[in-house]
Subunit: 115 residues, 2 copies
DNA sequence: ACGACGAGCAACCCATGGGTTGCATTTCAT
DNA sequence: ATGAAATGCAACCCATGGGTTGCTCGTCGT
């Protein structure tokens, strides 16, 4: 992959990091991972903010594709939200890419010094 | 590691994600990885913002430990900024942790279904 | 049919954040 | 010594973001 492609791919994942950058939101995705699909009401207990705040955060996470409003549970009034693990992988890959570039740079440096 | 420990560790890395969540900042760390330690002036070319903006962003990155103001170059007036790759690893580990919890949850689900 | 539950919508508050401009400071080159 | 380069500091602007409250709406249980 050409560096410019990598750079584009990295820049593109900034919104995902931004979404993960809020403590409440990060906690939400963590809970959705451990606890599986959950309703807003259930997510609100344990979060120290209002249900509305949780709702907003879910919309943000949905906006960057980290979370999805799944099919409703058997209870018609509640909606179950679930993680979209692929997006999580994307973010991880971006970090891997950056780290790899760094490692490559270190390798070049060592090669240069030992030359 | 107990789940509560993992949760704490995950929450703690929210600021790092927040720092990476800005496109300009993410680009900065990418460039610092590929290009090695660089001065503010050099980083400013190629970034479509003011030198002051770049400076501020570097402070932010420094605040979360993603970047360090290294020893000055041979030119006494310029300061070289370099990546702190350990912090990058921390962030990656946090994502791994979340992903692992998800995978474990999926494993439990499959086990339950196939039971 | 009525009350409780889950959730959406809208308005509002205010702090933070990204960005800029202007000026001061140190260091280097000539 | 004088000017240019690299940076810091400070004030300011304004948009966004996280949070709340109040109300409405659909749905379920009884």
């Amino acid at each position: 992959m050409r560096p410019s492609g990598a750079a584009r791919s990295i820049r593109a994942s900034a919104p995902v990091f931004a979404a993960l950058g809020d403590e409440t939101r990060l906690q939400l995705v963590a809970r959705l991972c451990t606890g599986g699909p959950q309703s807003i009401a259930r997510l609100t207990e344990g979060a120290d903010v209002t249900r509305q705040a949780v709702s907003k955060h879910l919309r943000v996470l949905e906006g960057v594709g980290l979370v999805r409003a799944g099919r409703e549970g058997r209870d018609g009034r509640e909606t179950l939200w679930e993680i979209e693990p692929r997006r999580l992988d994307d973010a991880r890959r971006a970090l891997d890419l950056i780290g790899a570039q760094w490692d490559a740079a270190m390798g070049r440096l060592r090669a240069f010094v030992e030359e």
